[in-house]
Symmetry: C2
Subunit: 327 residues, 2 copies
């Protein structure tokens, strides 16, 4: 049995204590940071909960720690922000205060180093289930953060990575196939997602993106968010969507790669729109991650999916919404 103070000390030891602009880190009533002159601050908060977002029996604690922070950092990527600081609220059962916590913190510390985030505060409490809340803070040059609301008719719609990879991992878990060795690499995107911070910042630097979001809820839902915020519609070409690669022996599971790509959540890729005249200058990949043009923004406020024969059908939000039943 640990005291709260000992737990805080264990958390503190796992993370870098110093950073540019950090005056007071964890240990006082609040963290104190010095914003860079001329920068806007980008702040977001994200819950990651046992039995909602992960299962303690299935998800390794390293993945839980890594993914909790990656998800939150992805919202910074979606604004094109530079990642700076984070605060961790951690509720734990007694059974998780030993090795589970060590592994969890190791995963989170790895994510923090990888994504350039420094822990500046938090809260710990005891609970029956593991409850994690992350608040992440980034910055961007004044007025440069990319919003959901800037998409304009005629913009091309682009996406990073391959869509549906995280959902495929989740489906393998649902089918209890995740322990099969030959498929374990397919779980990587589900367990250790990579927020596209470099791409987001690169787009901001060039002022190329008019609107941007991360694909946390799935393409159909997240494109809907952009269209709604921007007061526009979109058409997406099914053939152009970068689909998850399906191994032959996965196909008999009845998983449709297009469906995984459209409605599957948690890929944490960037979905953005940009003026068509710039599209030819967009690289096809960045740091090995493909960047693909999948459609365009329209004046009519419908969102359509166009198949290979040119037929159009409405693309309805089918992604993750915790207040609706999962399809």
């Amino acid at each position: 049995m640990y005291s709260e103070e000992e737990l805080i000390e264990r958390v503190r030891r796992k993370f870098t204590p110093h950073a540019d602009g950090l005056s007071v880190g964890i240990g006082d009533d609040a963290g104190v940071v010095r914003p860079k002159p001329g920068a806007d601050w980008i702040v977001t908060t994200d819950a990651f909960l046992e039995n909602v977002h992960f299962l303690r029996k299935i998800h390794p604690p390293k993945s839980v720690g890594f993914k909790a922070l990656a998800r939150a950092a992805s919202d910074l990527a979606a604004m094109g922000a530079r990642s700076r600081f984070f605060l961790l609220t951690l509720a734990l059962p007694d059974a998780c205060t030993g090795k589970w916590l060590d592994d969890f913190l190791e995963g989170m510390a790895r994510a923090a180093r990888r994504f350039g985030l420094v822990l500046i505060g938090g809260d710990t409490t005891k609970y029956e289930l593991v409850w994690i809340n992350l608040t992440v803070i980034g910055d961007a040059d004044r007025g440069k953060a990319v919003l959901r609301s800037g998409a304009r008719p005629g913009d091309v719609i682009c996406v990073s990575g391959r869509l549906g990879e995280a959902e495929l991992g989740l489906q393998l878990i649902h089918r209890r196939l995740h322990r099969k060795n030959r498929w374990s690499s397919l779980l990587k995107k589900h367990l250790y997602p990579e927020p596209r911070l470099a791409l987001g910042q690169w787009l901001v630097k060039r002022k190329w993106a008019n609107a941007m979001i991360d694909t946390s809820d799935g393409l159909s839902t997240d494109l809907g968010h952009i269209c709604k915020a921007s007061g526009v519609g979109a058409k997406v070409f099914a053939e152009k969507i970068p689909l998850v690669r399906m191994l032959p022996d996965l196909q008999r599971l009845g998983l449709d790669p297009l469906r995984l790509a459209i409605d599957g959540g948690e890929d944490y890729e960037l979905l953005f729109t940009m003026p068509k005249r710039l599209a030819s200058r967009l690289p096809h990949q960045m740091e090995g991650i493909p960047i693909t043009t999948i459609g365009e923004i329209t004046r009519e406020k419908r969102i359509c999916l166009i198949d290979s024969s040119g037929r159009s059908r409405p693309l309805k939000p089918g992604g993750w919404d915790p207040f609706r039943k999962r399809r």
Copy 2:
């Protein structure tokens, strides 16, 4: 059954959408704020959980909303910061998405207006229990935030308000006496605590406080935090502690006012140290809240409680620690 989007819309409507320095409020991937030039940012996060911090059957939803934000704002008060923005993570059972949520939001919106906090983002999800996490952001002139670590031998120790009032309310609830009309006013401090933001800022402006903390865990624990962080000790005079007022018919409950004051948590008063030479200039009250000198900081690293006959005994941390059993 509500969708997440409808829920977010209901939350958004309850709060002020505009504020100085706010570029993008709730609705995008993150909030965007413009820090005041020359200011430090003070950031803290705080969980408020059903069955740990409140009971849905006993605590009115208005109190849950108010107190969740008040607790978090109290950490800003403890740094002497000005309150600015907050982010709300809210997990809710279906049963709480109707009137319960309306009342909860009303209580939180009242607290937000009262404490000068503007909602800039959040996260909602479905869960079996009500789970709330608040991140609050304040600012202070550069380098002026008051830390726990600045107490010096010879400083006087001061506290605002009366200690033990919130604990008395909690004890009445434990004894199922909270519905008795003549005692309902005693619950106010437990249900609707008031962070001492004005006092904190006033002390910062005058540069009078060397160290400060809010009494969230109880005097014995929180004074311990100051002493540990500052590498000092303290003596506290029992007779000087501003005790909760006990009505005569409460005394037969066997509650000891001194014990309530020393170990009772959640008063959210300010506990601070300041140079002795300034003590005579400290007002006895501010906005009706008493300010009392209760002891002094010592070089020896013990914390002692001195009774009316001059006897000294160690003052051990007896306050709230979620990872220890409640005494």
